[in-house]
Amino acid sequence: MNAGIEAMNIYCGSAALNVEELAKVRKLDNDRFANLLMKEKTVPMPYEDPISNGVNAAKPIIDSLTEDERNRIDMIITCTESGIDFGKSMSTYIQHYLGLNRNCRLFELKNACYSGTAGFQMAVNFILSQTAPGRKALVICTDIMRLGAVDGSMELAFAEPSTGSGAVALLVSDNPVVFQVDKGANGYYGYEVMDTCRPVPDQEAGNVDLSLLSYLDCSENSFKEYQKRVEGADYESSFSYLAFHAPFGGMVKGAHRTNMRKFKKARPEHIEADFNSRVMPSLIYCQRVGNIMGATAHLALASTIDNGTFDKPKRLGIFSYGSGCCSEFYSGVVTAQSQAKQRQFGLDKHLNDRFLLSIPEYEKTFAVNGELKFGTKNYKVDRTQFADAYKHVKGKNKLVFSEIKDYHRIYEWV
């Protein structure tokens, strides 16, 4: 039997910022900034949170199912580092707002940016175990970072343009039309390292250099483990495309360059051409959304499926990394049918539909973000504050976050 992704959709908010413009305003070195391969980022609006994003990503998938198929969803795994409560999982809200069956496992899972892969692999193994034949799992990878006032230090200055907001929803089943996993073709690599973390709910901390070095170590060692488990696996010829967890494009480019030199003894010109043909399709969406942490690896996968050429079935390699750390290299097959199904959701159109904020409008979000801290007991979202962006959701059957009442979050379809 086979397992993998039956359907996948993204929701990356209603407002974005041109980060090349931001870099100029923040006086970052523009020549070097171009090498980081960042274009836009999604900026979270007050009426968006990880739950509304997750529901909006999943809704078109759920709407495409029959009632019988919907009732076959046996679990909802929310993969995140942006939880809104230490006890209650976001899956409970997501089940409620999607109107899903109550005979369903609901839980949340964490390991920094690796969470999406962790959840996906748990879902795949649930399907492959055949303990509940014909059943499906809904995996929601959703992360958000509400930035406050920006620190002027160099490393954090570069973190500002790279941090995004959004969600990827994956329906995992024994009908993997969109992405069929290679069973057992998984190389994992993890160890304890204090690279980056969220010691308090609304703030990133850590050491950028350590994180980059750990990412490079993992991208090499997870593939070495994959090679041990998959006879004859070759970093170049086995995969038509590679999709990486992308904190920003420049980091992916660095890891690809290192691995091509290490595994293939490739020359710089060859590496550059290989990057453009095998890796670049994965970055097209990531460059427009920014790092959405646990959801980034699957955003890169969605980008590859939409932007690659699939005249025949092709194998994709995926590298996922989460600080702290855990990583995995795994693979699967995408066909022309996968691309046709994926394109029905119009992901490119969704990204084009976001309202482009000016720098002053963007900076206005900092004050609201300060009011929406973890543990807020009561709060009413003022939708008139960002009226131009709000027009991009109003009347489009999207879920918006409207209120916190005695810690309980309340949402509305608009």
Binding site: D29, R32, N35, L36, M154, E155, F158, V193, D195, N207, V208, D209, L210, L212, L213, S214, L216, D217, G250, M251, G254, R257, T258, R261, K262
Partner: protein, 81 residues
């Protein structure tokens, strides 16, 4: 040995940042002051380890601030090999 490693680090740095060609590069200045961002620094460590044939986790060099720091740490690993 250490001088050779310093020479190799400088060569690698120029390969990564060609704009430094012909400039005086201080081994004491921080790599940040020389203009190397975190990707450049990661690349520098990777390339130097490869060219020294050293199989050591890159994260062990995260604390290196300058070319001299990096050379000291790498020389120590070479001796232990």
């Amino acid at each position: 040995m250490k001088n050779q490693i310093i020479g190799l680090i400088k060569e690698n740095l120029i390969e990564i940042m060609p704009e430094l060609e012909g400039q005086e590069i201080s081994v004491e200045d921080t790599l940040v002051d020389i203009g190397a961002n975190s990707i450049d620094r990661g690349e520098l460590i990777t390339l130097t380890l490869e060219r020294l044939n050293l199989e050591v986790s890159r994260i062990e060099f995260a604390k290196a601030q300058s070319i001299k720091d990096l050379a000291d740490m790498m020389a120590e690993k070479m001796e232990k090999r």
